[in-house]
Amino acid sequence: MMKPLLLWSDSLILLLLAALAALLWLARHNEALRGHWRQVMRSRVGRVTALILSLYIGIGLLDSAHYVERLPAAPGQPAPFSGEVRSALDWLLTPIRVSVEKTYSAPLAERLYAKESVMGPDGVERRDYPRLLHPGAHWFGTDKVGQDVLYLSLKSIRTGLLIGSLTTLVMLPFALGLGISAGYFGGRVDDIIQYLYTTLNSIPGVLLIAAAVLVVQVQIEAHAELFNTAAARSDVRLLALCGILGVTGWTGLARLLRAESLKLRELEFVLAARAFGVGHGRILLRHLLPNVMHLVLITVVLDFSGLVLAEAVLSYVGVGVDPGMISFGNMINGARLELAREPVVWWQLAASFLFMFVLVLAANLFADQVRVALDPKSRGRA
C-alpha cells in the first residue's frame, strides 16, 4: 500500500510540465518552430544529445513521483504511513538501493576496501578484506556507509536538474527584463538598473546566500507542522536555494544583454519600427529579444554547470542543500575527505564527474544545435 505525496518541488515540476505542454499545444501548427525542431533533429549531434537529455529528464521525472508506504498496522489502529519518502525511481532501483554494504568498496569489487577482522574457514581470526554481501554488483562502488554510488548518482540527477532549471527560471525574467530595458531605454532606467546590479554584485554572493538560507531554516523550524518529513524539509531548502541563487545570479547575463541592446537599439530596424509607432513592449519583444537569444542560450547553458557546481561549493560551506539530500554537491563535498585518505577513494568523485560531464556536454551541444537552427543565416547551409 502506498500513498502519493506531492512535495513543493514536485508541484512546481508539474506546473512546469503543464506550461510546457500548453506551449507545445499552442505552437503545434507553427511551421517556423517545427522547421527549427526538424533542423535540430536532422543533425546526428542534435539527435544524440536530445536522447541523452531526455534520459536525464526522464530519470529526474521518475524521481519526482514521490510516495510514502503504509506500514503494517498495529491491531485496532489505522495503519500509519512510513516517514520515509520514496520515489518511482527508488522503486525501480530497489535492487541496488537495498544492496547496502558495510562501507567503501571499489567499483565491481568482490571484497570490501577496508580490512576487518574476519573469521577464516579454519576458525582463526585474521585481518583481511571481507567479501561483499553483493560482490560485483556495484558498478561505481559504494560510499562510506555502503550505499551504491550508481544509485546515488542517479538520485543526484533530479537535484542537479532542479537547481539548474529552477534557478534559470527565476533568473531569466530579471536578466532579460532588466538587461534589455536598461540597454534600450537608457537614461534614468539604465541608471537605476545599473545601480541595482552593481549593488548586488558588490555583496559577496556566499554571504548573501548563507544569510538567506539561514533565514529559511528559521522559518522551517517555526512552521515545523508544515514540513513533517525530512524529505519535505530538505525539499523546501532546495527551493529556497534555487530562489536565492536566481535572485543573485542574473547580473552577469543582464550586463551582457544591456551591452548588446545598447548596440541594437541604434540599428535602423529599431528606428524603423519606432517610425511605425510600434510600442516599446513590442519592440523589446520582436526586435531586441530574438536578436539577443543566442547570448541567452549560451550563457544559460554555461551557467547550468556553474550552478550545479555552486551547489557543491555551498554544501562545503554548509549552506547548500540539506546534508541528507542526495546531490552531486554533497557527493563532491564528501569526496574531499575521501581524496585525503589513504588509500584514495576516487569513485564517488569520478561517478559524479562522469554524470555531470555527460549532462553538461549534452546540454552544451544541444544548445549549440538550437542556436544554429534559430539563426536564419545558417539555414540551408550543410
Binding site: E268, F269, A273, F276, P376
Partner: protein, 620 residues
C-alpha cells in the same frame, strides 16, 4: 622592366568540395611613376587582387597560379621572412577605414616611428626628425606628433596612415578605396595628396576604387574588373572616350547626371555571377545587351582592340558594324526605346501638385553636453540649428551636406524619433509638436523613412512578410488576409519575387534589401518619404535601379521625397530643389539647376569643386 607586373593571377578558395575563384587570370602592370586604377563593383575581386599582391590573403584563400614581379623580383617566390621586408617597405598599402587601420592606444607619430625602425632602422632623434618630415609631407603639422588617432579627423587619420606607409619609401603604393569613408571635400584633398606624392616620389600607385569619377581624376591607365577578370584595360583618355566592353559602357550609362534628369537611367539587369560558377562563354553574357550566340559558347580572349586598349569581348575586334553601332548607342547614354514612359517628362521637373506635405519652421535639436560627477549640463551641441523647409506633394527636395552636418538628426527630428528642442514641424497641415499617443501614432502613417544601410535596417530574425506587415499591423486597420494580399502587392511594386515574403533578409543582396526597406515604408501609404542616403551603400548599377524605382513610385503615388545625400550627381538627377546644410544650418536653398550651376554660397561652391570627375589630373 621596372614597376609591378602581375601575370595570370588566379586565387582559389576551397569551400566544402567546391572551389570559389574570386580572381581568375588577372594580368596588368603598374609602371614607375604611374597610377593605375583597378575599377569594379563590389565582389569583382579587386580587393582580393590587392591582398594577393601583398601576400596577405585571408585564411583559406590561396594563390593558384600567377606571377607578381616588383622590379624584376618574383614576389611569390620569396620566403616569408623576405616578404616581411617587402611588405610596408617596397610595397605599401592603405586601406579604406582609417579608423581601424591605426592602433588607437599609440600616438600616430609612434606608429610612424615603428615603421621607420622596421624598414630604415632609424632610432631616436633621427627617427623623430624623419617622422616630422613625413607628417609635414602629408599635410599634418609638427604639433600632431603627440596626437592619438581619436584626436584626429577622418581625413587626418588617412593622412597619418599615408605617412606611415611612406616611411618605408615604397616603390608601389596600393590604395584600397582610400577615400570611400570620407566626405567629398576631404576626399578631394586626400586624392590630391596621393597624386602629388606619387609624382614627387616617382612611385607607382595602384588605386582600387568603385568610383568612375575618382578613377578618371587619378589614373593614367584603368583596368575594369568584372567577376574576377579584367574585362577592359586602356589608358584613361581612351577608356573614357571610347569604352569598348559592354560592361564598361553600361557602367557609364547607369550614372545619374544632371543631363539625364527626367530620363530613365539605363539599367543593368541581373547579378554578378557567383565565384563558383563554371563559364562556357563570356562572364558578362547573361547581362549583356549586345550578347549573341558566340558569347554563350566561346570564352572571349583578351584582345587588343586598338594599340594599348585591350578588351575581353568578341565584338572588340570582329569589326562588325552591327555590334559596334549597337554598343555605341548604349554608350552614348541616350534613352533607350524601352524607357520611353518617362521621356514625356524629360527635361522639365515633374510638376508638384501644390499641396504642402511638409512644413518645417525654425527647427532646432540641441544635445546637452554633460560634465562632472553630477552630470551637470554645461552647454549644448546644436546638431540642428534653426532649419526651415517646405515640401510639396510629388516633389523631391535634396538635403545635401557632409557627415556631421546634422542632416540625419534633422530627418529623425522631423519624424519625432528624436524630440526637437524647438521649432515646429507640420505634416499635411497638422503640427506634430502637440501630438501624443494615439494621434501621433496615426500621423506616423503619413511619414516614413528609408535608411542608408540595407544591412542594419532589416531585422535579421524576421521574415520579409513579417517585416512588411509590421507597420500595417501597427498603423492600418486591416485584417490578416488583406494584409497578406497587400504584402504581395508591395513586393510586386518594388520588383521582388512573391516568394520573398517567406524568406529572411540575409538571403537578399543589398539592392534587394533596399527595395524591401522601401516597400516597408510604402506599406502604410505615406505622403512623405524621407530617404536617408538610400543608395550610398550600393553599387552604381544597383543605385540606378533604386533611383528608377523611386522615380516610378513618386509618379504613381505623388509622394513627396526628402532626399538626404552627399552625392551631387544623384541630386542633379533626381531632385527639383536642393538645400545645402552645414553645421546644423541650411546655407543655401534653391532649384537644382541654379544651385549646381550657379551656386552663391562659398560652401556650395567648395562641395561642387570637390566632387570628383571634372577636374583635370594635371591640376595640383
Amino acid at each position: 622592366m621596372n614597376g609591378l607586373v602581375v601575370e595570370n593571377l588566379r586565387i582559389e578558395i576551397p569551400v566544402s568540395g567546391r572551389t570559389l575563384v574570386p580572381v581568375d587570370g588577372v594580368s596588368f602592370r603598374v609602371g614607375t611613376n604611374e597610377c593605375v586604377a583597378l575599377l569594379g563593383e563590389s565582389g569583382c575581386g579587386k580587393s582580393m587582387t590587392a591582398l594577393a599582391l601583398m601576400r596577405l590573403l585571408p585564411e583559406g584563400a590561396r594563390i593558384a597560379t600567377g606571377h607578381v614581379r616588383l622590379a624584376e623580383e618574383e614576389l611569390f617566390a620569396l620566403p616569408e621572412a623576405a616578404m616581411v621586408a617587402v611588405r610596408g617597405g617596397r610595397l605599401a598599402m592603405i586601406f579604406q577605414e582609417p579608423q581601424s587601420s591605426l592602433n588607437p592606444v599609440m600616438t600616430v607619430a609612434g606608429q610612424i616611428a615603428e615603421a621607420l625602425a622596421a624598414h630604415l632602422g632609424l632610432q631616436g632623434a633621427a627617427a623623430q626628425a624623419e617622422t616630422v618630415r613625413l607628417l609635414e609631407a602629408v599635410g599634418l603639422t609638427r604639433g600632431h606628433i603627440t596626437a592619438y588617432p581619436f584626436q584626429l579627423s577622418g581625413g587626418q587619420r588617412q593622412r597619418a596612415l599615408i605617412a606611415m606607409m611612406l616611411a618605408g619609401e615604397p616603390e608601389l603604393l596600393i590604395a584600397d578605396e582610400p577615400t570611400t569613408a570620407l566626405d567629398v571635400t576631404v576626399q578631394a584633398q586626400i586624392l590630391a595628396l596621393l597624386r602629388s606624392l606619387q609624382r614627387q616620389r616617382g612611385m607607382g600607385l595602384l588605386l582600387i576604387t568603385h568610383d568612375l569619377d575618382v578613377a578618371r581624376d587619378m589614373a593614367d591607365r584603368v583596368a575594369v574588373m568584372y567577376a574576377g577578370q579584367i574585362v577592359e584595360w586602356a589608358s584613361r583618355d581612351r577608356l573614357y572616350s571610347t569604352p569598348s566592353h559592354p560592361y564598361t559602357q553600361k557602367l557609364f550609362a547607369v550614372l545619374p547626371r544632371l543631363e539625364r534628369r527626367g530620363q530613365r537611367l539605363d539599367s543593368l539587369p541581373g547579378r554578378v555571377p557567383p565565384p563558383d560558377s563554371v563559364f562556357t562563354g563570356c562572364r558578362f553574357a547573361e547581362r549583356c545587351p549586345a550578347a549573341f550566340g558566340r558569347c554563350h559558347e566561346e570564352i572571349p580572349a583578351f584582345q587588343e582592340a586598338a594599340p594599348g586598349h585591350y578588351v575581353r569581348c568578341h565584338l572588340a575586334t570582329s569589326g562588325e558594324p552591327r555590334g559596334a553601332s549597337g554598343e555605341r548607342q548604349v554608350a552614348s547614354g541616350e534613352p533607350r526605346v524601352a524607357s520611353g514612359e518617362r521621356q514625356v517628362a524629360s527635361g522639365e521637373p515633374r510638376v508638384a501638385s501644390g499641396e504642402t506635405i511638409l512644413e518645417v519652421l525654425d527647427l532646432t535639436v540641441h544635445f546637452p553636453i554633460r560634465r562632472g560627477l553630477f552630470r551637470r549640463t554645461v552647454g549644448s551641441f546644436k546638431a540642428v540649428d534653426g532649419v526651415s523647409l517646405s515640401l510639396q506633394a510629388g516633389e523631391t527636395l535634396a538635403l545635401v551636406g557632409e557627415s556631421g552636418c546634422g542632416k540625419s538628426t534633422l530627418a529623425r527630428a522631423i519624424l519625432r524619433l528624436i524630440e526637437p528642442t524647438g521649432g515646429s514641424v507640420a505634416v499635411a497641415g497638422e503640427a506634430l509638436a502637440g501630438l501624443n499617443g494615439e494621434a501621433l501614432r496615426r500621423k506616423r502613417a503619413e511619414m516614413q523613412i528609408v535608411f542608408q544601410d540595407p544591412y542594419a535596417s532589416l531585422n535579421p530574425r524576421m521574415r520579409i512578410g513579417d517585416i512588411l506587415e509590421e507597420g500595417m499591423a501597427a498603423l492600418l486597420p486591416l485584417a490578416a488576409a488583406p494584409r497578406r494580399a497587400r504584402v504581395k502587392a508591395l513586393l510586386d511594386q518594388v520588383g521582388l519575387p512573391l516568394d520573398a515574403a517567406g524568406r529572411y533578409p540575409h538571403e537578399f543582396s543589398g539592392g534587394q534589401r533596399q527595395r524591401i526597406a522601401i516597400a516597408r515604408a510604402l506599406a502604410v501609404q505615406p505622403k512623405l518619404l524621407i530617404l536617408d542616403e538610400p543608395t550610398s551603400a550600393l553599387d552604381v548599377s544597383v543605385q540606378a535601379q533604386i533611383l528608377d524605382l523611386l522615380a516610378d513610385l513618386q509618379e504613381a503615388h505623388g509622394l513627396a521625397y526628402l532626399f538626404i545625400t552627399h552625392n551631387l550627381p544623384v541630386v542633379a538627377y533626381l531632385a527639383q530643389r536642393v538645400a545645402v546644410m552645414r553645421a546644423g544650418r541650411i546655407v543655401e536653398e534653391g532649384p537644382v539647376e541654379q544651385i549646381l550651376t550657379a551656386p552663391r554660397h562659398e560652401y556650395t561652391r567648395l562641395l561642387l569643386d570637390s566632387a570628383p570627375g571634372h577636374c583635370a589630373p594635371d591640376e595640383p
